[in-house]
């Protein structure tokens, strides 16, 4: 099967599942390879955490492996440390071949459920495959309640080039702006992720800019808290973790460079 044939199989499977996903995807075309990719991604995004067949998993994994590896992957060796244990890298976190990447999740915890939504939660779940949603669903069901802000949970990364995903729910900033509690919760998200990575004896963790996307935390203040919390954790615990600050937007790259004392 080539990639397009795999997509056709996967789309047919998802459309025939009969779990109320079809009508949500009515406006999608299915002509070009690009349209098929969007339809497949959207169907996975809106799909509830239900098991899939082994055959589906095999075809999906083959598709995702090829799709994910078609990009340039980045490992820790490709990066230069700013200071011992600290790295800054701009790009798509799903192309990082490191031990752990951090996902900015929400309290429902099963990944973004909006078709083709352009957020990190959506991209991580899409490129990992449907098994990640099932794993997150099992975690949250075992907990018995929605995920609080400032905590962290670990899952495998499935088809992603990283080994694990640590999911954290950062604070949500509404019209009233940042409060001390929200700042503390953001720091708590970073600390919880670091502690969990150490608990699982991981060597490298890549952080996205937690809470700055859909959750509206001001980018500058968020970066200050991120860097300060990571530095304090590393020195307080003497952790040997390598920490990558992964930025996506140019705005965040400039902010992190400035705070970390790097030249433009």
């Amino acid at each position: 099967m080539d990639q397009e044939a795999r997509l056709d199989y996967l789309i047919d499977y998802l459309l025939e599942e009969n779990i109320d996903t079809k009508e949500k995807m009515d406006q999608y075309e299915r002509g070009t390879a690009q349209e098929k990719l969007a339809l497949f991604r959207g169907l996975c995004n809106v799909r509830p955490p239900e098991p899939v067949t082994d055959q589906f998993t095999r075809v999906q994994d083959a598709f995702l492996t090829q799709w994910n590896n078609a990009r340039t992957l980045t490992a820790l060796n490709d990066l230069e440390a700013i200071e011992p244990q600290l790295y800054l890298w701009q790009g798509d976190i799903t192309s990082l071949a490191v031990d752990v990447i951090v996902n900015a999740a929400n309290s429902d915890f099963i990944g973004c459920t909006k078709a083709n939504h352009d957020c990190i939660d959506n991209m991580i779940h899409t490129r990992a495959g449907v098994a990640l949603r099932l794993a997150c669903d099992a975690v949250i069901k075992a907990q018995g309640r929605r995920e609080p802000m400032g905590k962290a949970k670990i899952t495998k990364a499935y088809n992603l080039p990283s080994d694990y995903v640590i999911h954290t729910v950062g604070p949500y900033i509404d019209g009233r702006g940042v409060s001390l509690l929200k700042e503390k919760l953001l720091a708590s998200s970073y600390r919880s992720c670091l502690a969990l990575a150490d608990e699982h004896q991981q060597k490298t963790i890549a952080f996205c800019c937690i809470s700055t996307g859909e959750f509206n935390f001001p980018n500058g203040r968020a970066a200050e808290i991120a860097i300060q919390t990571v530095k304090a954790y590393l020195s307080d615990t003497r952790s040997a973790l390598n920490v990558i600050f992964n930025v996506f937007k140019d705005e965040d790259l400039h902010i992190y460079r400035a705070i970390l004392g790097m030249k433009e």
Binding site: S107, R145, E147, P148, D174, L180, L181, L185
Partner: protein, 117 residues
């Protein structure tokens, strides 16, 4: 005497220390829809231990204890009526009563200016 820590008020009455909501915390979390006490079987708390889990309109949050101590009483009314945590009245929005609390640890918490009530 009243102090604050972890965005909560702590009021000392004799040997008991009552932990309740601050207006800032109430403002931050929005209307509370669900409350569940953590480890309802254990009768001691350490600093930072979760007192309760709450889900509100704007937040899902674990309330951490600002003090270590022995649990005297939990506000069981919150379980059936979670919006009591949004009440302005301390007799309604209290969370837990502790005893055997280290007086020094309490005294080190941030003080609260007394307003005439």
């Amino acid at each position: 005497m009243k102090k604050r820590g972890e965005y909560l008020f702590i009021e000392k009455n004799g040997d008991d220390f009552t932990i309740s909501m601050t207006p800032e915390l109430q403002d931050d979390i929005g209307t509370v829809g669900f409350v569940e006490y953590a480890d309802a079987d254990t009768d001691t708390l350490e600093v930072g231990d979760t007192i309760l889990n709450l889900e509100a309109s704007k937040t899902v949050l674990e309330l951490a204890s600002p003090l270590a101590g022995k649990v005297v009483e939990r506000n069981e009314a919150l379980i059936s009526e979670p919006t009591l945590l949004n009440s302005a009245k301390p007799e309604e929005n209290w969370v837990i009563k502790l005893t055997d609390v280290d007086e020094d640890a309490f005294n080190k918490l941030e003080g609260v200016t007394r307003y005439i009530s």
